[in-house]
Amino acid sequence: MNATLLAATSTGEAAAFWVLAPIAVVAALMIVLSRKAVHSALWMALTMMVLAVLFIMQGGIFLGVVQVVVYTGAVMMLFLFVLMLVGVDASDSFVETLRAQRVVAVLLALGLGGLIITGIGRATFPDPVGVGPANDAAGGHVEALAELIFTRYVFPFEVISALLIVAAVGAMVLTHRERLVPRKTQRELSAERIRSPHPTPMPTPGVYARHNAVDTPALLPDGSPEDTSVPEQLQRRGSSRAKASIEDVTELEAGES
């Protein structure tokens, strides 16, 4: 890398900036404005990618790659994973619990933004030097970063590694749940099944119903839904369509008569 690397912005960098910056701002706005959390997560991934490119444009090559790997790879995956766990279709309610909270929040944000931007606008910055000299002094970009991390910043580095371990242990402690009753063996399960009033397999879902999906209960000859045909797990989660199918049947009957 030459010594004058990134001291001033080239035309190419300016063009890339003016293309990428609006994308980043729009994607960031969409994170806030999307109603569904999954859409927010996808816009977030886009923002992260754009920021990674901006890092690389400014000489943070290693940082840009880490941004892609850690943020768009690991953190966003974790976000999506938890979203799927917690319920994808849970969209925000638009009922304000505090009166005029949204208006006040937007005003506060505008004030904060105005404050930061005027602060930057009034500051005097030195002529940009570029990271080239710093890289050359250590014989390469990654070498220069490694030298800093393991000399001047070695104590923060150790502290941060401790933080990571604490975070990992904390996540395990928080999400761990003790088993209250011992797990039933297959033998106990089959004995239970034979003693139960319904030893044969449960009825299959969707029989005579409008759909044959697993969440649609089978219909009995009188048109009422058979709840045992829907897997217990789905019933407990409340995603069985029992109600809908009764409505379907009455609708059908009304149409036929």
């Binding site: 917690v86 930057i120 990271v131």
Partner: protein
Amino acid sequence: MNPVNYLYLSSLLFTIGAAGVLVRRNAIVLFMCVELMLNASNLAFVSFARMNGNLDGQIVAFFVMVVAAAEVVVGLAIIVTIFRTRRSASVDDPNLLKL
């Protein structure tokens, strides 16, 4: 183009993130907005590193990234735990301490 434009972009993203934290109700989206703010600060750090010609800014950005990752892990674990007991990811629902 002046490299200060990167700082303007960074402050814009930071502001949008802050607005999101204040406006949104879903705990996960709230977390994403916090991540956005952290990333915006990273952009500022990288720009400062480039302006001043040393790599300290980039090192600080690394540390911010690690802290953000740790924060996400613990935060999402808390969200999952709250969801287990309250069946909701909204930040309005856990109001047991309210009179």
